[in-house]
């Protein structure tokens, strides 16, 4: 009996120690959304249960192995204990109670996390191998409805954002650790669009990561998230909605950023998933079939709208999306070409 008492005390001590270690040492990322608060509350409950069960089993085992150890020269067997029906029922029924309770609070937290706010702003998220594009619908001062595309996800603080997730090729997953939530993004039509609701509550810069393996560029399928004040968000959106009235080259750079070109093509000469744009235009390019072409305007235009037509030696076909002629206007494509040509030397 005295052994059980000591074990009991040790279990309590170990539970406290482990529990504090798990809950107080910051093994979860910063909280940056309403959803994170709810989810972390549930995490803490789990942490305490983990602490208790690890402590219980380990203390019993370790205590027994040490205290009842075989003394030098001791022969014979251990205590004959066959089992105890009541004890077995107890440690079956009590865990059933605990897991049912956990399931109940699991359901409650889930509905909390997914609570809908009718005022939520809608952002269409387009994931492709291997870039992110975020599209906002805005109404300009003249009352024209237009779409704004960005490669940075800008969200207003303390307002729910409804993300409508589209994939253009394979399954991706939207994940921002600081927001704690995640949703796979399925390719296909409207019936495969999935939604994710986030209410950011801390200004700052975070990273969207693709969490479902999506091919060789999976590791680098990242995008920036900026949580800003509401007024700042509105200002940003208005600025984006304005036509691009910069030079062709500058506009081209902007489209190259917002439509994810720079996820695979660099402008500094390093090689990522596709050929670099630095020193490309006007120079000879060797293709997989052994021939050589000059990267003139026509070549660049074809390379954007029909990327499989000519594959540069050392790169794979079917990697680049083949629908840029639908996504971009002819003017935008021309501007991107102008941008690439500006990097020609």
């Amino acid at each position: 009996m005295i052994h059980l008492l000591i074990v009991g005390v040790l279990v309590v001590v170990a539970t406290l120690g482990l529990g504090l270690l798990l809950t107080q040492t910051g093994i979860l990322p910063a909280q940056a959304s309403q959803q994170a608060i709810t989810i972390d509350w549930l995490f803490n409950i789990h942490f305490w249960f983990i602490a208790f069960f690890v402590a219980l089993i380990c203390v019993v085992i370790v205590y027994s192995l040490i205290v009842f150890r075989r003394k030098a020269g001791e022969k014979g067997d251990g205590v004959y204990m066959h089992g105890n029906q009541r004890l077995e029922i107890l440690w079956t029924v009590v865990p059933i109670g605990i897991v049912l309770w956990m399931a109940v609070i699991g359901g409650q937290t889930l509905s909390d996390v997914e609570r809908r706010d009718p005022q939520a702003i809608t952002v269409d998220v387009f994931a492709a191998q291997w870039s992110w594009r975020f599209q906002y619908e805005v109404t300009t001062e003249e009352g024209v409805r237009t779409a704004v595309a960005s490669d940075v996800l800008v969200l207003p603080r303390n307002q729910q954002a409804l993300l409508r997730l589209h994939s253009q090729d394979v399954i991706h997953s939207f994940y921002v650790p600081e927001f704690r939530v995640k949703q796979d993004i399925l390719p296909g039509g409207e019936e495969y669009v999935r939604e994710l609701r986030i209410t950011p509550n801390t200004n700052g810069t975070y990273t969207v990561q693709c969490a479902e393996i999506c091919g060789q560029g999976h590791y680098s399928m990242l995008a920036q998230v900026q949580v800003v004040d509401g007024s700042e968000f509105t200002a940003w959106l208005t600025e984006q909605a304005a036509d691009c009235n910069l030079s062709d080259v500058e506009c081209g750079q902007r489209w190259a950023e917002t439509f994810g070109c720079l996820g695979c093509h660099t402008t500094d000469g390093t090689v990522k998933i596709g050929p670099t744009w630095l020193g490309l235009a006007g120079h000879a390019v060797e293709l997989t079939d052994g021939s050589t072409v000059t990267a003139d305007t026509n070549y660049l235009l074809t390379a954007i709208v029909d990327p499989n037509a000519q594959i540069v030696a050392g790169f794979q076909p079917n990697v680049m999306p083949q629908n840029f002629d639908e996504l971009l206007s002819q003017e935008q494509i021309n501007q991107i070409v102008a941008f690439i040509e500006s990097l020609g030397n």
Partner: protein, 639 residues
């Protein structure tokens, strides 16, 4: 030179010839039907190549089986010829040849399974070490080495994805074979049978793994694949040819699993010794039975889903590509309907080994035998209704999530029963710290970590954060090491004298234990923490600004400790097989029937059938015994 007359050699030669023949056949058929053999368009050309290679590989696999001779008796039956049931080996051939040949003795097949399993685990380990070197720090360096480009034709992120995917699936294949090793070697011996119910089916079930494993590993040289071991379409529809090798290889290993499990069920249910009621079976047999029930039913679904992906790739049949009208989530349902129960297939035999060893070395009865036995069944039954917890964020119907959360959490109950029973078994025991016991105890602690990290993945809200992070990786490695690797090593050490007639090296065994236990604890706890911190899984590189470099480096060190531990293990058993101390009689003072026989186990296990006269684990109960080895009369040989 005798090696050239073994089934292994003949089979492999036949496989190579069959593959070439099959490719020729496919090309000939294309010519006959007026289809092109090549195409100027790169993508079409690749597709034609893929069709030809796949036909070749499938014919090659069948050729292996024919060439190795597993079908010989069945062909005789089909021709109406009788075959002998007396499988005494040819005394003119050296003993080692049996292990490389088609042999119907369950002990030989068990060892064949075991060695193949360890080889696959070694390959899986090498893959892991390669990408662990890469992951020790941020930036892509090691995998960009020129050597990989020269050897394989690809490097960098794609190589990482391939190694990571192969690590997963090769380990799983290795584990399935390890499960087969334990079931085949132990079940007949423990229940007092002289062989499995269907010895030929048993041999077939083993030998089909050899071409299966060869094809699976060959995917490395067919461009690899970048989908992870889950092979989700549409990504798996776009992956290189290596994907097909993955699908075919796993399919063959799956067939083995089905054939093997039918054998285990029939053997356990119909061939037990006199007096051995189900509740007097050694506890491992309960685990093997529950495992077999999962294997023979659920495995078909992964076979089906892989076949459908193959067909979609080969013939453009749109099952899963939503851009063509298919449904990618359907694949995930079919896949996880097997692959969740599969993880219980991996762990249940291991848990059975733990339950088997704790009483022997603690010199105490297994606490609550019936509850432990039935908890295996509880886990098996519940596991059929939990698959969708892998899909909480997959975009499946939202209303499915809550019921699957309930069912998933319920798994904790029978698992908890096991832990409480083990703790109670250890309590007040007079433990003998031999290597097998160390591994069994280590397994309990590691599996405990795997157990308690389950519920945060089961409650959906927390899973939204943890899904597809390193936390899942940590949780899974905990369950696999606690539920399979450690118990498997324990089982090999424990029954080593039965297999070889010799003892392993105790000192090396203990060094191996501490190396692996400490290394694994380092590795898995860091995996869990990285996951909680939000590091997603299956990435070749991570931002240095995240501050994960130190932890990843420590993780690599832990991984290498485990790896070197297993290498030491290989050295220990290979050396001890011929050079170890001769082990006489009941080395562990066990009550189990197989230890009442000489070492190594005689050719036909029990020439004289024994009778069960007591409970299996009544250690510490004076004058009790489990088996009467000589029921016809005479003095009892068991205590």
């Amino acid at each position: 030179m005798r090696f050239f007359s073994t089934s292994m050699f003949r089979g492999l030669i036949a496989q190579v010839a069959g593959t070439v023949l099959g490719m020729g056949l496919a090309m000939a058929l294309r010519v006959v039907f007026g289809l092109p053999l090549s195409s100027p368009i790169e993508a079409e050309d690749a597709h034609i190549r893929e069709v030809i290679v796949v036909v070749g590989v499938l014919v090659g696999a069948i050729a292996f089986l024919v060439g190795s001779g597993v079908f010989t008796d069945w062909f005789k039956w089909a021709r109406g010829e009788e075959t002998s049931d007396d499988h005494t080996p040819d005394p003119s051939k050296p003993n080692w040849m049996r292990y490389f040949s088609v042999d119907f003795d369950h002990k030989v097949i068990g060892v064949q399974y075991g060695v193949t399993s360890l080889l696959l685990l070694l390959f899986g380990g090498i893959f892991a070490m390669l990408f662990r070197i890469e992951l020790s720090g941020s930036g892509i360096t090691f995998l960009n080495s020129e050597i990989f480009k020269v050897l394989l034709g690809y490097d960098g992120p794609h190589l990482y994805n391939t190694l990571m995917s192969l690590h997963g699936i090769v380990m799983i294949a290795g584990i399935l074979l390890g499960v087969g090793a334990m079931s085949n070697y132990l079940v007949p011996m423990l229940i007092g049978a002289n062989d499995m119910a269907f010895p030929r089916l048993n041999a077939f079930a083993f030998w089909i793994n050899v071409p299966g494993a060869a094809i699976l590993l060959s995917s490395l040289f067919f461009g690899g694949f970048d989908t992870g071991w889950v092979g989700y379409p549409p990504l798996s529809l776009r992956a290189p040819l290596g994907m097909q090798m993955f699908l075919i290889g796993v399919y063959l290993v799956g067939l083995s699993s089905i054939a093997g499990s039918i054998n285990v069920i029939v053997t356990t249910l119909t061939m037990r010794a006199k007096g051995m009621s189900l509740f007097r079976m050694p506890i491992f047999c309960w685990a093997a039975l529950a495992t077999a029930l999962l294997q023979f039913s659920a495995t078909q679904l992964i076979g089906l889903s892989f076949q459908l992906v193959m067909l979609e790739r080969l013939m453009g049949m749109s099952f899963f590509d939503s851009l063509q009208g298919g449904d990618p989530v359907l694949y995930q349902h079919l896949f996880w309907f097997y692959s969740h129960p599969a993880v219980y297939v991996f762990i249940l035999p291991g848990l059975g080994v733990i339950s088997e060893l704790l009483p022997v070395f603690g010199r105490k009865p297994l606490y609550g035998y019936r509850w432990v036995a039935l908890s295996s069944f509880g886990i098996a039954v519940v596991s059929f209704f939990v698959w969708a917890h892998h899909m909480f964020v997959s975009g499946m119907s939202p209303f499915l999530r809550i019921p699957f959360m309930y069912s998933t959490l319920l798994v904790a109950v029978p698992t908890g029963v096991k832990f409480f029973s083990w703790a109670a078994t250890i309590w007040q025991g007079k433990t003998i710290f031999k290597t097998p016991m160390l591994f069994a105890l280590g397994a309990v602690v590691i599996f405990l970590l795997g157990g308690v990290t389950g519920p945060p993945l089961a409650t959906i809200a927390t899973d939204l954060h943890l899904h597809d992070t390193w936390f899942v990786v940590g949780h899974f490695h905990d369950t696999m090491f606690g539920g399979f690797i450690f118990p498997f090593v324990a089982a090999i050490f424990y029954w080593f004298p039965k297999m070889s007639g010799r003892m392993y090296n105790e000192k090396q065994g203990k060094i191996q234990f501490w190396l692996m236990f400490i290394g694994f604890m380092l590795m898995s706890n860091l995996q869990l923490i990285l996951g909680l911190l939000g590091m997603r899984r299956r990435v070749v590189d991570f931002d240095a600004a995240l501050g994960f470099d130190t932890m990843q480096l420590a993780l690599t060190i832990g991984g290498f400790m485990v790896f070197f531990g297993m290498l030491l293990f290989a050295y220990n058993i290979i050396r001890s097989w011929t050079k170890g101390e001769v082990a006489e009689g009941n080395v562990w003072d066990s009550r189990s029937p197989e230890w009442q026989k000489p070492n190594p186990m005689p050719l036909h296990n029990y020439e004289q059938p024994f009778e069960v006269v007591g409970e299996p684990y009544d250690y510490g109960l004076p004058n009790s015994r489990y088996v009467n080895m000589n029921p016809a009369g005479g003095s009892p040989s068991a205590h």
